[in-house]
Symmetry: C2
Subunit: 82 residues, 2 copies
């Protein structure tokens, strides 16, 4: 299953509790798409969020984030992990 | 110890072996800076590289990458991990 890193901007001031709520929407929606959001890193100061995710395709990953209400077009398949 | 995600562009065509060599230079140089490069994700097609790293400061992380020959100004402290 391909792995992707996706990047979001604009999450300035989003607390851990709010991020958990947003992430929970991904988890609730990902099953039918065969997607698994595994790790999330964020910073309320910079508004930057990184998600490590596996899924059958970039399009499936994008769809889950869109349905969850936090779309991004910065979704990068990663082929090598060290 | 703060955690950072850094992003590199332009690693198009860089194989796993070449990335391991580049990463080894980080590992060889990080000790005196108190930095630890823990995970790396890359894609030779997009040239995008993401590194998860801990260190005492953003500046220390930047210095290790500079000394290793692959500088980047895209270094983002992450305050929240899910």
């Amino acid at each position: 299953m391909p792995t992707f890193m996706d990047v979001h901007d604009g999450f300035v001031g989003v607390s851990k509790e709010q991020l958990l709520e947003a992430h929970q929407r991904d988890l609730d929606l990902q099953g039918p798409e065969g997607v698994s959001y595994d790790q999330v890193w964020s910073n309320p100061s910079t508004g930057k969020v990184f998600c490590l995710v596996t899924g059958p395709s970039r399009e499936a990953v994008v769809r889950v984030h869109e349905k969850a209400g936090h779309p991004t077009d910065q979704v990068y398949e990663v082929a090598i992990e060290l």
